[in-house]
């Protein structure tokens, strides 16, 4: 009962749109984002499919599903595990899912490669994970970056679920949600408009979005997120854009 009440304090909304470069090349949007609540865990997850991987839009969905299942069932246990064991557990489950889908379709797991960003909250605790580029931010009194993008040397290189060193690159964060009002997950396309790399500044627009959750339904917010990605954010980048937001509403 109590967990029901606790998770009811968080409200989530997500959206993803196809970028200008993928429209030009007639490639599907490879970003995916999702919010859910189960077994007392409120969660948002986002994945950006690898540009060259043929089925990465499906891989992004599979990664989100797998990590959501892993986190909702294993949240309490994950609070006491070593970070590397959490990362290994998630990636085992994700790779098993990618491999079985790949096998069934005559593909290989690498055809389903994606990045991964996730935040789950239960009670007073949060667990977050980040593999590759994109950005995780939190709103306390002010906006703060929780997890920065991790690229290779070049702009078009990063780490994916199927990368050899994915386990070591999957960064795990745990903490108390006491002073946190909102979590934001962004793909690198959205981060191009929401985070200035030169001085590590976050855009005031994130606070605006966070404010919407106090006044509007999830449906209205998701419509607005989609529309703003489509009409405003997308003009700042050639990449697909996605965002997932989870706001405390008590």
């Amino acid at each position: 009962m109590s967990s029901q009440l606790e998770t009811a304090q968080w409200k989530s909304g997500c959206a993803y749109v196809r970028g200008r470069s993928h429209i030009k090349e007639d490639v599907p949007c490879q970003d995916r984002a999702k919010g859910m609540e189960k077994d007392g865990v409120a969660l948002i997850a986002l994945a950006d499919g690898a540009g060259s991987a043929k089925c990465s839009h499906i891989g992004a969905e599979l990664a989100i599903e797998a990590v959501s299942a892993e986190l909702t069932a294993g949240f309490d246990e994950a609070l006491s595990l070593q970070e590397e064991d959490i990362a290994a557990g998630w990636l085992d489950r994700i790779l098993a899912s990618l491999e079985s889908t790949a096998d069934a379709n005559g593909m290989v797991a690498a055809d389903y490669a994606s990045t991964l960003l996730v935040v789950a909250v239960k009670g007073d605790s949060y667990i977050a994970g980040h593999l590759g580029d994109g950005l995780i931010a939190v709103e306390r009194e002010e906006l703060e970056v929780l997890s920065h993008p991790e690229n290779g040397e070049y702009a078009n290189s990063t780490y994916f679920t199927t990368s050899r060193d994915a386990e070591a690159r999957l960064r795990i964060y745990r903490g108390n949600v006491e002073d946190i009002k909102a979590f934001f997950l962004m793909s690198d396309g959205t981060a191009a408009a929401m985070h200035r790399r030169t001085d590590d500044t976050l855009a005031p627009a994130l606070k605006t979005i966070s404010g919407w959750f106090m006044e509007h339904s999830v449906e209205t917010i998701e419509q607005a997120l989609h529309q703003n990605l489509e009409q405003v954010i997308k003009n700042k980048t050639f990449d697909d854009c996605s965002i997932a937001v989870m706001r405390r509403i008590d």
């Binding site: 030009k24 540009g51 060259s52 990465s56 078009n156 290189s157 408009a193 030169t198 001085d199």
Partner: protein
């Protein structure tokens, strides 16, 4: 939806990721006449094409090093808007090794500048064009490019001009891609291809291999 709109002033801008491209061009005495004229036309076309493409203009940064008599940097890395098109003249010997060494130093320095300014960048490209054989020792320069290429830190396009181009030397710089001989003096086709390839590269996203465009418009593929 009036209060559900985001405005530009509440968003942030980032510099676009750069594609540094260094042209290393043979301007030795043997290029006199039609070859240097055609090369000049090609370079001009290239710089104009990059300038006119929205994405390439924001991303591509071009430097030009020539080797003919001495080695000179005739165009420095900068935004294309601030660059003027050089007029190349042909003279003297062919210090190709020295020119490649200088180009690698310039690319390395440029990457450091990007990093210090928080600007993302793509893997650098080096275009090497010659119509003859080097008159200096290329061992060190060839070793440097080969090592960079094997470590995925450089892409090189080695191009031979005319029948006397020393393709074996060009090959020594390029452990992955074989050198290609230009079809006649089709510099225009080559540089058109190069600017289009840069546009594609500048839009590539993480994990995406930059698909090389077919080289047939400018390459002599006859055996």
């Amino acid at each position: 939806m009036s209060n559900l709109e985001l405005f530009d002033q509440d968003l942030l801008d980032n510099p676009s990721a750069r594609v540094p491209v260094c042209l290393v061009l043979d301007t030795s005495g043997s290029m006199k006449g039609e070859p240097i004229d055609e090369l000049n036309r090609g370079v001009k076309l290239f710089m104009n094409e990059v300038r006119e493409d929205e994405m390439a203009a924001l991303s591509a940064e071009i430097a030009i090093v020539t080797f003919g008599g001495g080695v000179k940097q005739v165009v420095e890395f900068a935004n294309i808007e601030n660059q003027s098109i050089p007029e190349l003249t042909a003279t003297g010997r062919t210090p190709l090794g020295e020119a490649v060494n200088l180009s690698l130093d310039l690319l390395e320095a440029r990457k450091k500048t990007y990093a210090s300014l928080g600007i993302d960048y793509y893997q650098p490209w080096l275009v090497l064009m010659t119509d003859g054989a080097p008159t200096d020792d290329v061992t060190v320069a060839a070793r440097r490019t080969s090592e960079l290429i094997r470590n995925n830190k450089l892409t090189i396009f080695p191009i031979g001009i005319g029948a006397d181009a020393d393709m074996a030397t060009l090959q020594a710089f390029s452990p992955k891609l074989p050198p290609v001989r230009l079809k006649g003096l089709n510099f225009n086709e080559f540089f058109m291809w190069l600017s289009q390839s840069i546009t594609m590269k500048s839009q590539s996203t993480p994990g995406e291999d930059v698909k090389a465009l077919p080289i047939n418009p400018w390459a002599d593929l006859s055996l």
